[in-house]
């Protein structure tokens, strides 16, 4: 680009601001990691320099695994995230496909409805939802969250996938149908394989959103055995005024790792989804 070419100019325009952003964005994770391996003596001292660990220890991790249901919470979180992602992807395809490629009465209303439900934030719905889940007698079951998470994920998947479906040329589908494929087969064997990147984007996003969900899990899951990681950590590692900081950080770090791993493998699909659909945060 145009402008100063010297190292000085480049430092000012690139390295300094980039360094600032990296430190600002990553410091909390660094802090999370080192806090989780600091002995309490270092954690609760105003004298010891806190920016590094002097005597690392795994005590907090051992206490987290021995003293809490952390493994159960992790299992619950994963199970719910996987089930809701699959359900939302299937229903998202079934909604998005006709909306993107078919001409039928009522299409405009359904499309507007899907966009609107995508944008309705949870806090507008949680009180009536709590009552509905109670009446269905689903309190303290994972079914309660498996049933409610897709309300956030389906509209998103449908909306994201519509863009991909629209990009597949109509002729391909018509050729398949002339060769004797039904509409359903044409979708399954011709259009969907061509939209694999879209399916990956939607899937990764749905998985991340499901891991991030907190409000419904907090309301519906009040027994330790059915809790997810965020709810478990918040309700059981903070007791009244007592914060188990070491364990909290260990739980936060371990709870973040599954999302971070999946994300690191599919960054490009994630970014594609982000820009294609823009996303709830």
């Amino acid at each position: 680009m145009v402008g100063g070419k010297g190292l000085g100019a480049r430092t000012l325009r690139l390295y300094l601001p980039l360094g600032f952003f990296l430190v600002a964005m990553l410091f909390p994770f660094y802090w999370m990691a080192i806090t989780s391996i600091k002995p309490n003596r270092e954690l609760y001292s105003q004298k010891i320099m806190p920016l590094v660990v002097h005597q690392p220890t795994l005590t907090h991790y051992i206490e987290l695994f021995d003293g809490t249901n952390f493994l159960t919470w992790t299992y619950n979180t994963m199970l719910v995230a996987v089930v809701t992602t699959v359900v939302s992807l299937v229903l998202g395809v079934m909604l998005g496909y006709p909306l993107a490629r078919m001409n039928f009465p009522g299409a405009a209303i359904v499309a507007i409805g899907v966009a609107a439900t995508y944008l309705v934030p949870q806090p507008l719905l949680f009180i009536p939802m709590a009552d509905i889940i109670n009446r269905l007698d689903l309190g303290n079951t994972l079914s309660a969250v498996m049933l409610t998470y897709p309300t956030l994920l389906i509209p998103f998947c449908a909306w994201l996938l519509m863009g991909y479906f629209k990009s597949v040329p109509r002729e391909l589908e018509e050729a398949a149908r002339i060769d004797g494929a039904t509409r359903f087969q044409a979708m399954l064997r011709v259009v969907l394989p061509l939209c694999t990147p879209g399916l990956l984007s939607a899937g990764i996003f749905a998985f991340t959103l499901a891991q991030n969900e907190f409000l419904y899990a907090l309301i519906f899951l009040t027994k330790s055995e059915v809790r997810t990681v965020p709810v478990g950590a918040i309700t059981e590692l903070i007791r009244g005024d007592v914060f188990y900081w070491g364990q909290l950080m260990a739980a936060a770090l371990l709870g973040s790792i599954p999302v971070a791993i999946i994300y690191s493998f599919f960054v490009d699909y994630y970014v594609a989804g982000l820009t294609a659909g823009s996303v709830k945060n």
Binding site: P121, W159, F214
Partner: protein
Amino acid sequence: MAVGPASVARASLAGRATSRRSLLERESVFSWVMLAPGVLFLLAFVAYPFVYGIFISLQDRRVASPGSFVGLANFVAQAQDAVFWQVTRNTFIYTIVATFLKMTGGLAMALVINQQFRGKNLARALLLLPFIVPTVLSTVAWMWIFDPTFSVINWTLRHTGLVTENFSWLGNATLALVSIIIVNTWRGLPFYGITLLAGLQTISPDLYEAAAIDGASVTQRFWHITMPVIKPVLIIVTMFSVIFTFSDFQLPYILTHGGPANATHLFATYAFDIGMSAGQLGMGAAVALAMLPALGLLIVALTLYLRRE
């Protein structure tokens, strides 16, 4: 989405030609069979709760008691309550300040990464981390960063000699609001940054060269080349972000629980306190619905904008 009459005719011709085409091959029948499960699900678990929430807000309902119809009494009670207006004020300050910071900071981040350098993809992936890690878990780390006694910010400020006393980040009304804005900005800024970067990448460097040769300054190039291209992305991203910042729950709930003395209660956390913690379902639903006028406008605007795209 439009299908030309020609292709419809061709489809029906093909339909007659192969005799075993069933009813399901008709475009409208196929579409509605496909749509039905999703549409029914969303009607049952989004549309119905929404309407049911309005119904609850018109009752004096509490947990485990039936409640009776009270008309707009809950809304009137809120309108006469100073706390409600404080919550309204908090929510607007939170949304406006955080959105401004995320927008300008995100734009700066996008402009920085859009330069040529080694490790660009890695930098992009790392910078997006705050946005993908579950909010509750990263907010817990921030809670420790803001700890009244062991805050690392205070430690750094004290040891560089900038202050002599600890700041009570989450204990002071103003600082607590500042704190939740900082964390919201931290989490949301990369979302702006990375989506705007995608917009920036569509601009050809030739345009800048040409403009520079014509004598356009850096500022002029930004406003006349960069801005027009990224404006549509910026509008969509901002509207999304405003909707979900305005209705934010997780972050203030974890960091401050709305305190001290309601200084950081937003509509969502306040509705939760009243509806869930205190069990006044009707009143809580009314507080949640108070978000609707502002939120509804945004949702309608964004829905129309997305449809037009």
